[in-house]
Symmetry: C2
Subunit: 261 residues, 2 copies
């Protein structure tokens, strides 16, 4: 094995890991090395490109930008791929998507000034039984506040008031933003609300509900939209809204079906 | 394209890059996304592993450790693969290897105290013609000093004095070192000297010459050894050496054949 060319080196590296104590690590690294090498051969990666790639990755990984590498995973669809695999739900259950997305959105407008939206719905089990003990968190993108957990009522119903969801952009002032621009891509996500729903005996659900009609539904920068998670925000011209405030206001009705644990 | 599962998402991401102005960037990113996604599917990457991978990569990329990501490329054989591709030489010419390696070795012993080694040889063109105008740099691993460029004499011959080359370790006190340990791998490189040789009208050559008999020749941590670059360091018990110093001393004879530019 002393003399490796660009083809034989792949097997040489893999063979070197034969003694790894952790079988799973060996499995992951074998696949990683195969794909990394195949990529470099396939595109005939030049020395200059390899250097530039390492420089880019070092900049993205620097401690000053803690979100860049998770964001890279988001915009390359890897985060959604992993979520789709690991958060798959039985038919009839509410789907999961990137509510635990790696990189938060930046809110482009003042959410507090937006028209209010009254969100309400029911949490049920697969069989259709309401889950009165369920708890629901709902928050607009990028808002760390307002993540209080709401208990459901005796019929498994929840109610929340949020600002009207607006399209929001993933951070794009760093290396990932430059990459998106070079790729002719925009950084926008369609308007959505984040939800975290849990109930005893059921798998916790992290998901997002997307505003029907949004112009970015087809081109979400992080590929998180799922058909079953698109819902209408209904506008009501005149009040009073459910909490007595004057109009205009919006309502969103969305039920959740949790999978048994 | 609104609804992507773990399989269809790959094509969705690639399609998003159709408008990239730079055709080469589009080509590289298409292959990268395909291999990244194929890797995640192949090993059925879990959310916890994905998170740990991103955390590891962020730590490796942090500005406090500028060598970790290049070092990762070295120990996974990517650096050598790229070198083998881009620095291929015609038959009969001296081969290139990782002299421009991304991450420097740490010298484990005091090189200055080592027995001296007198290095000498000739620089020739492919046809066998000596190149009197050639210039040779030679330096032990990790030594930034002693990299003065030596002019060849009228017969294309160079001479240099170096400390005896010793095995050296790649940096292994960070994330890459932990990875190597988990993979059951050592961080050692076989004893070698670095050379940079140039002459007008010829491709510059960056390479390493490895000490025959070294215990790490078969398991170089960065896969840089090439059969044609292994040479004997001959020990001479008694002096005086070429510069008059008493023995013991070593000699290394190594000629270089440069490819026409």
């Amino acid at each position: 094995m002393r003399h490796n060319d660009e083809y034989t080196i792949t097997q040489a590296v893999i063979a070197r890991h034969a003694q790894a104590g952790d079988a799973r690590l060996r499995e992951v690294m074998t696949s990683l090395v195969q794909h990394l090498h195949a990529f470099a051969r396939e595109v005939q990666l030049t020395e200059a490109e390899w250097r530039e790639g390492l420089r880019w990755l070092s900049e993205a990984g620097s401690a000053a930008r803690p979100h860049e590498l998770p964001l890279l995973s988001d915009v390359l669809g890897l985060s959604m791929l992993v979520t789709a695999r690991s958060q798959r739900r039985a038919a009839g259950c509410t789907e999961s998507t990137l509510a635990a997305a790696a990189a938060p959105c930046a809110t482009p407008e003042d959410h507090a000034a937006a028209e209010p939206c009254y969100v309400r719905g029911q949490v049920r089990s697969q069989g259709g039984t309401p889950l009165p003990g369920a708890r629901v968190q709902v928050w607009p993108c990028a808002a760390a506040d307002g993540r209080t957990e709401l208990p459901c009522d005796g019929a498994g119903r929840y109610r929340a008031t949020t600002p009207l969801a607006q399209p929001c952009a993933v951070p794009h002032d760093g290396p990932v933003g430059r990459l998106l621009a070079a790729l002719g891509r925009h950084p926008w996500r369609p308007a959505h609300l984040n939800f975290a729903v849990r109930a005893e005996g059921h798998r916790p659900l992290a998901t997002q509900v997307f505003r029907d009609g949004d112009r970015y539904l087809e081109t979400d920068a992080v590929f998180g939209v799922r058909r079953s998670l698109i819902a209408p925000w209904v506008r009501h011209e005149s009040g009073p809204g459910p909490d007595g405030r004057p109009g205009p206001y919006h309502t969103l009705d969305f039920d959740f079906v949790l999978e048994a644990a």
